[in-house]
Symmetry: C2
Subunit: 325 residues, 2 copies
């Protein structure tokens, strides 16, 4: 749920006068995204999403995010397209916040992905990576290996409030990943948060990828490892090999994995699990009183991390030469 900033009709009507979208017909706050305020917007020209960017998104990053959507959309990736105003700008200001209007995409999130959904996701992710190859802007991934220690340190003493032994497990994992994180994999723009909430389907076909507000420049295979964590485990943390095979198969059918990416995959999978374990852990300890957002359980990602330690090798994920170049 996320409507942090209320917009009055007067403000919205004045804002829409900057666009060639016709009159305001309807605007309703929607429960989509957790970082920003989002509205379903119906105007004379059709249906749109209005996003007000809240404090967790750096304003200086917005040209990267909006430019990426335009870049991908122009290359056939079905994602929201920012609508430019009469002055040619994709970014405006509304109710004291940076704001953008983006196209509305039909489709719905799948609560219980099947292997067919995972295969479609893998293909879409590979198309995304290929389409992003010539995107000129760069944005550092602040939530990669170098960012995890500073994220964890202020709350390390409280780790065992969440799960017994969590502090020791995270400390050991940080040491392992620092020592083993791959440094020279094929990189480019990644989505970095392609959870089921952010992938729209119509039937078995993907109709859109949304929520690009964690996108950054990083190892492409790390994006795949994030999807593996988000799509190929049960809620109880059980690994689902058939979904993993579908995801990796779908991806590699569009973009073959380099041998170094296959070798590094188990480490990337552990890193991805730790990244979401850590951000969920910090959010868990920092729910403000009166919060409108319920935090997600970090223990789900602790279970995944433990499972990755067991899977251990590329073959644990079913990765072999068939996925490579």
């Amino acid at each position: 749920m996320a409507v942090y900033t209320q917009v009055s009709d007067e403000e919205l009507i004045a804002f829409l006068e900057n666009y060639e979208l016709g009159p305001l017909l309807s605007c309703k706050g929607i429960a989509e995204g957790v970082e920003n305020s989002n509205y379903y917007l119906h105007a004379g020209a059709g249906s749109f999403i209005l996003t007000l960017y809240e404090k967790r998104v750096a304003e200086s990053d917005l040209p990267f995010f909006l430019g990426l959507m335009e870049h991908l959309s122009a290359r056939g990736v079905t994602c929201p397209l920012p609508v430019r105003n009469r002055a040619g700008a994709a970014l405006g200001r509304l109710a004291g916040r940076p704001a953008a209007i983006i196209t509305f995409l039909d489709g719905y999130s799948v609560a219980h992905p099947e292997p067919a959904h995972c295969a479609a996701l893998g293909e879409a992710l590979a198309h995304f990576h290929r389409a992003g190859a010539d995107f000129p802007l760069r944005r550092q991934n602040t939530l990669s290996v170098a960012g995890w220690r500073p994220l964890f340190a202020p709350f390390a003493a409280r780790a065992d409030e969440v799960a017994e032994g969590l502090g020791d497990i995270v400390a050991a994992e940080l040491a392992y990943l620092d020592a083993n994180w791959p440094g020279d994999l094929p990189s480019g723009v990644i989505h970095a948060d392609l959870f089921p909430d952010n992938v729209f389907f119509l039937g078995d076909k993907i109709s859109g990828l949304i929520d690009f507000y964690f996108a950054c420049t990083d190892a492409l295979a790390y994006d795949l490892a994030i999807c593996l964590n988000a799509w190929c485990f049960t809620a109880q943390g059980d690994f689902e090999p058939d979904k993993c095979a579908a995801l990796l198969g779908g991806y590699s059918a569009v973009r073959a994995l380099a041998p170094a990416e296959i070798d590094a995959f188990p480490v990337l999978a552990r890193g991805a699990a730790l990244r979401f374990l850590l951000t969920r852990f910090v959010d868990w300890l920092n729910v403000p009183p009166g919060a409108l957002v319920r935090p997600k359980d970090p223990k789900e990602y602790l279970a995944r991390l433990k499972r990755h330690r067991q899977l251990a090798t590329p073959s644990g994920y079913g990765l072999g030469s068939g996925f490579g170049e």
Copy 2:
């Protein structure tokens, strides 16, 4: 904000198969209404609102509410129309809850109503009352004078937590209203919650009335007194005579007030202020931990109540023979 019950894509697709609305295209939780879970629903046949009825709404009342919308809509009142399923039923069941699909109305709520909006509201309310005159179902108003003491009593000892002296003020007001509440005014179906959130405008024209889940059978002029409280005061509790004149003028142009309604109006206005003071007070003391809804401030209605005591007579509201039959 209100999305209490999550609906999975599988459940929704199965539910839609009961309707002739085509395939599911999109469904997003929206921040509308506080009693129920509401979704913007895009299906093959167009845009709709999907409502899941939560525990605060009695299931036995749903035929009254849904029947009322059908009755009013058939008589030209622009309100949502329940969509009947293939079996001819307006009410179904989804995610363990009673659920209905209603038509989507364009329009937006006005944050700062002007007199022109109040005049349009008055006309619309009078049309509503006239259209409801032959509605055959009845529903008792559990939030009228007989309901206020039982509502207040369990929390009376905590009244001064909210405002100093509140307990004494409410006790005195309950005594006054018990003694002076009019018993024999023209009655019929009333909306009973026609706040600005529940009235959609396109420009100065009303495009729809929504949220009929407090509708009941009661004095028609009490509905007008509720609107007076909701539309004709500043947030600080200052009475705005020009908006009051516009509201009462708009109403009486469509449905003339009986002399008894004019005489009783000051008492009805006090009662309406007390009703929202009491429900807000109880909600204020009963915010559950982790609530997704911020309670509204009861003190806004304490200020209104005090002002009504000063206005005191029909002429205090500008009511004279020009508004009557």
